[in-house]
């Protein structure tokens, strides 16, 4: 299990860079993870997506359907890709501390 270090953050991640212990997630960890996704800073819009993903995942045990994410946050899919270049299922979930999606996702 690789150790990922960034500033004061030291966390265990899997080979794809997703958190192994999501309960350790906090704002600082999100910033650290964002650095691995070609995201230089987390804007208000980034946080809107991250917070929605986290709230949904807490209630339902997984990330929401992509269309629902767009509808609820008010962003077009393209805008989400602009914010998280590897997309809602990979980049956004990684920064939000969610598990890596499996199967054909």
């Amino acid at each position: 299990m690789p150790l990922f270090e960034y500033g004061n953050v030291k966390i265990q991640v899997d080979e794809d860079g997703f958190m192994e212990n999501p309960e350790l997630w906090n704002d600082e960890v999100a910033l650290a993870l964002a650095s691995t996704e070609d995201i230089s800073e987390l804007t208000e819009n980034h946080w809107k997506v991250i917070n929605y993903l986290r709230d949904y995942s807490k209630e339902f045990g997984i990330a929401p359907m992509v269309r629902k994410l767009c509808k609820e946050t008010g962003f077009q899919l393209k805008e989400i890709y602009d914010m998280f270049p590897s997309g809602p299922a990979k980049g956004a979930c990684k920064v939000a501390g969610l598990a890596k999606p499996t199967g054909c996702v």
């Binding site: 794809d16 339902f60 045990g61 629902k68 509808k71």
Partner: protein, 452 residues
């Protein structure tokens, strides 16, 4: 010499993660597992025939999308198949074992196993080479068998192993780990969306008993393919079909088709149990090539009474269109459309014309990619490779290169790929190869064109 596509300066690495890889004497393990599978299956008949007729003539070079891009002789289908046939010939055929006792010859080694571990996953099991082989060798079958033997010694991509474990033994019983509460929430959301888009109260029935159809769709659709699902629900609603989704098991994905007969059978058993629980009359599979082909093995594994009829949603939608039970308006979509044939339903000529007739009913602007239908090229993510994220660049820049060029040539806006595997691969290969256009499912377009 085969004309290659634009040469790559460097071939991206094709190296997948493995969980708890076998250690110790892998040669003995491989041979023991191979012997056991031969004892309990029908593979011996095919292998016995193949070792006699395999001429290694190389006709298959003309059809392989991987070889076309790499130009590497190791990517020629019959070269790859020989990796397994040589083991069968030496250890399990009468003449081979006699010959080697007298004169020596090929011996299985650790290096040979390493070679197979990667070579058989460079192949996307699309079976286009089968059309070219004058000896009728099914290289796709050999890829499947070699992967099956290796999977039994834990030498299989972790991405597939963990998805399958969740499907067969996990709480959610599906490859994407979607809990039922999330599924229910998504379906309610889609019902609201459908009301907004169509003005119709269209439902996604859950656990309806005695329905005419139980729908199993690739579970990734519930995260990624809202439009495909809404299009399917709109068709079934418009035609007045009774249908349901089961709450206990709702995944059509079956990676067993790619790497393990045991997984294939176990996932089908779950589908059978859910169909019986809800007393559904027929089994309907969503937009997906491998899910549909794997479900065709229900006939083999179904226990007791007759196996219910199984069909793909495109077959049903086509029937409903011909019977006049759904109506499509060809004036709603003006953009140019092209269609990609998923290998697992097109190669054998099974579902080829139906989707084209549907597209012609909703558009006057359809263009084929070449070659197509039974001779189509793989999306490059077939055979389970699309789920392996760590080989994305290999998938999109090597195995998907030919497909990317095909799409570019059509100049189409909508690229229809009615398959969960192909959809994920297309999104990534269109991005990595800078191909313009929008990837959609067939029912995404039907949703735009259907008239109530």
């Amino acid at each position: 010499m085969q004309k290659k596509t634009e040469q790559l300066a460097q071939i991206p690495e094709m190296k997948y993660y493995v969980e708890n890889e076998a250690k110790g004497d892998r040669v003995s393990q491989f041979l023991e597992i191979f012997a056991s599978i031969l004892k309990h299956s029908n593979y011996r008949m095919a292998l016995e025939h193949y070792i006699k007729v395999s001429a290694k003539c190389g006709r298959c070079t003309s059809s392989c999308h991987v070889y076309k891009t790499t130009g590497d002789l190791k990517d020629i289908p019959c070269y790859r198949s020989e990796l397994l046939l040589s083991i069968y010939r030496r250890y399990f055929s009468l003449e081979g074992s006699m010959f080697s006792r007298l004169f020596g010859g090929f011996e299985l080694t650790e290096e040979h196993i390493d070679k197979m571990a990667y070579s058989f996953w460079n192949c996307t099991a699309c079976r286009k080479c089968v059309l070219e082989c004058p000896s009728g060798i099914d290289h796709g079958l050999l890829t499947h068998l070699a992967r099956y033997i290796m999977a039994e010694m834990n030498l299989a991509p972790r991405a597939l192993v963990i998805s399958t474990r969740e499907q067969l033994h996990g709480k959610t019983a599906n490859t994407s780990g979607i809990p039922f509460i999330a599924l229910k929430d998504s379906l309610e959301f889609l019902e609201e969306e459908l009301l907004e888009i169509t003005g119709q109260e269209i439902r996604f029935p859950i656990d309806l008993e005695n329905a005419e159809y139980i729908l199993f769709t690739p579970v990734s659709d519930f995260l990624m393919e809202a439009d495909t699902l809404m299009g399917i629900a709109a068709v079934l609603h418009s035609a007045g079909i009774s249908w349901t989704i089961g709450s206990k098991y709702y995944d059509a994905i079956n990676y067993g088709l790619f790497y393990s007969d045991l997984v294939l059978a176990r996932a089908l058993r779950k589908m059978e149990e859910e169909t019986r629980r809800l007393k559904a009359k027929k089994i309907l599979i969503g937009e997906c090539g491998h899910a549909t082909r794997s479900a065709s093995f229900l006939k083999t594994y179904w226990r007791g009474d007759d196996c219910p009829e199984m069909l793909n949603i495109m077959e049903l939608t086509h029937d409903l269109l011909k019977e006049g039970r759904i109506k499509l308006d060809p004036s709603k979509i003006s953009e140019k459309i092209t269609y990609h044939d998923p290998c697992n339903i097109a190669r054998q000529g099974w579902i080829v014309e139906q989707p084209r007739e549907i597209i012609r009913a909703l558009s006057n602007n359809f263009v084929e990619m070449t070659p197509n239908k039974t001779e189509n090229y793989c999306c490059g993510g077939g055979g389970g490779t699309v789920s392996i994220d760590e080989i994305r660049k290999y998938r999109t820049l090597v195995s998907g290169k030919v497909k990317a060029e095909q799409i570019k040539k059509t100049g189409a806006h909508y690229v229809v790929a009615p398959c969960a595997n192909c959809k994920k691969q297309f999104r990534e290969l269109m991005e990595d190869n800078k191909v313009d256009g929008e990837l959609v499912g067939l029912h995404d377009l039907i949703l735009k064109a259907i008239v109530f």
